[in-house]
Symmetry: C2
């Protein structure tokens, strides 16, 4: 297994039935801009097609229980998270798949799954704004931040809903490889990112901020 | 076949080997927010997995030659477009798949393929900024607009690179269904869009504007 000290870091995206498309492919688009630094893998319940919330299927290359522990994990949100927070077998695998060396990231309601697994205990975190009340219920041991585009707290990075994942991904690239690398990636994607983690007009729209 | 006068419009995304992920899933995320108005399909060289530029595979539900002509077509960009502009069989199919009633849209270098097929003749259009010189070469019969987030010209909507597809998709939702519907979709996706089609800082970065 490669570790964080190698040049090429392995990032694994956890697919599950009912994952949200843009939660995955926003960050993946940016991560794919630095192929010399990041190798991207997709793991699922089985190797093979996994249906998104929108129906369209994306192919997982490895099955959860045989997937090597990555340097960086990304778990998206989507309707499927409603089921996963109660799926003890999945949560147990997710815990075992996470080591003290892991960088654990989530987009949208992916943080509800991390919270249900206990992987955000003692951390600050955020999530999708429309689903925030439900996400909070997944753990009292998390310091939930309602108004945030994303929250980075040591080895846990969690973003707000859907499109916020792209801003978090750009910030993560900057943190790992420097601002120039991040800027190169977003420029190639013609993406204007929000680089202020506290920018979050959606918190107010959903009644979560003054 | 459903037509533009029915309540539910059919939008087909043209997948091909080497399509760019966010070109597809940015717009698809927004389109999927209005499932009562838009049915989204994916067509490919074969029904089954199609590899993106990034490697990860997405499942096409129908093969090009048996796919019903949709109300709205979306063709993404990506490395695969370099090959498609010289693929006469593909271009011939694309022309035949387009009727006077079709709304034809593209993201990024998807417009190079449309231009190569002659489907932008007499239209204004834009494309990816890093690849603009190459895109221009695909047709002299197109009024190429270098500085534009997207260009809408009658039944042809073309966007700039990658992330610009999301802004175009939001504008298209507003045009088809009204601003409230578009705003609802972007708010659910926690996406701040640019609603000014002339906003394009990337044109300058790539030396295409003063």
């Amino acid at each position: 297994m490669k570790t964080m000290t190698d040049d090429l870091r392995r990032i694994s995206v956890v697919l599950f039935e009912g994952f949200e498309l843009l939660d995955v492919f926003g960050p993946v688009e940016l991560f794919s801009m630095v192929p010399d630094r990041l190798a991207i893998e997709f793991t699922g319940p089985e190797a093979g097609p996994v249906a998104s919330s929108q129906g369209v299927q994306v192919t997982a290359t490895t099955r959860y229980d045989v997937a090597a522990i990555p340097d960086i994990m990304l778990i998206p949100g989507g309707q499927g998270t409603r089921r996963l927070v109660n799926d003890e077998a999945f949560l147990s695998w997710l815990r075992a798949w996470t080591t003290p060396a892991s960088l654990v990231t989530s987009v949208c309601t992916g943080s509800a799954v991390l919270a249900a697994a206990g992987l955000l205990d003692g951390y600050r975190a955020t999530s999708n704004k429309a689903a925030f009340a439900w996400v909070r219920e997944q753990s009292e041991n998390v310091d939930w931040i309602a108004q945030a585009r994303w929250v980075e707290d040591r080895d846990r990075w969690t973003s707000s809903g859907v499109a916020a994942g792209m801003d978090m991904a750009a910030a993560l690239l900057a943190d790992l490889f420097g601002k120039d690398v991040a800027h190169g990636a977003t420029t190639r994607a013609e993406l204007e990112v929000h680089d202020d983690a506290s920018w979050d007009p959606f918190a107010k729209i959903y009644g979560l901020a003054g």
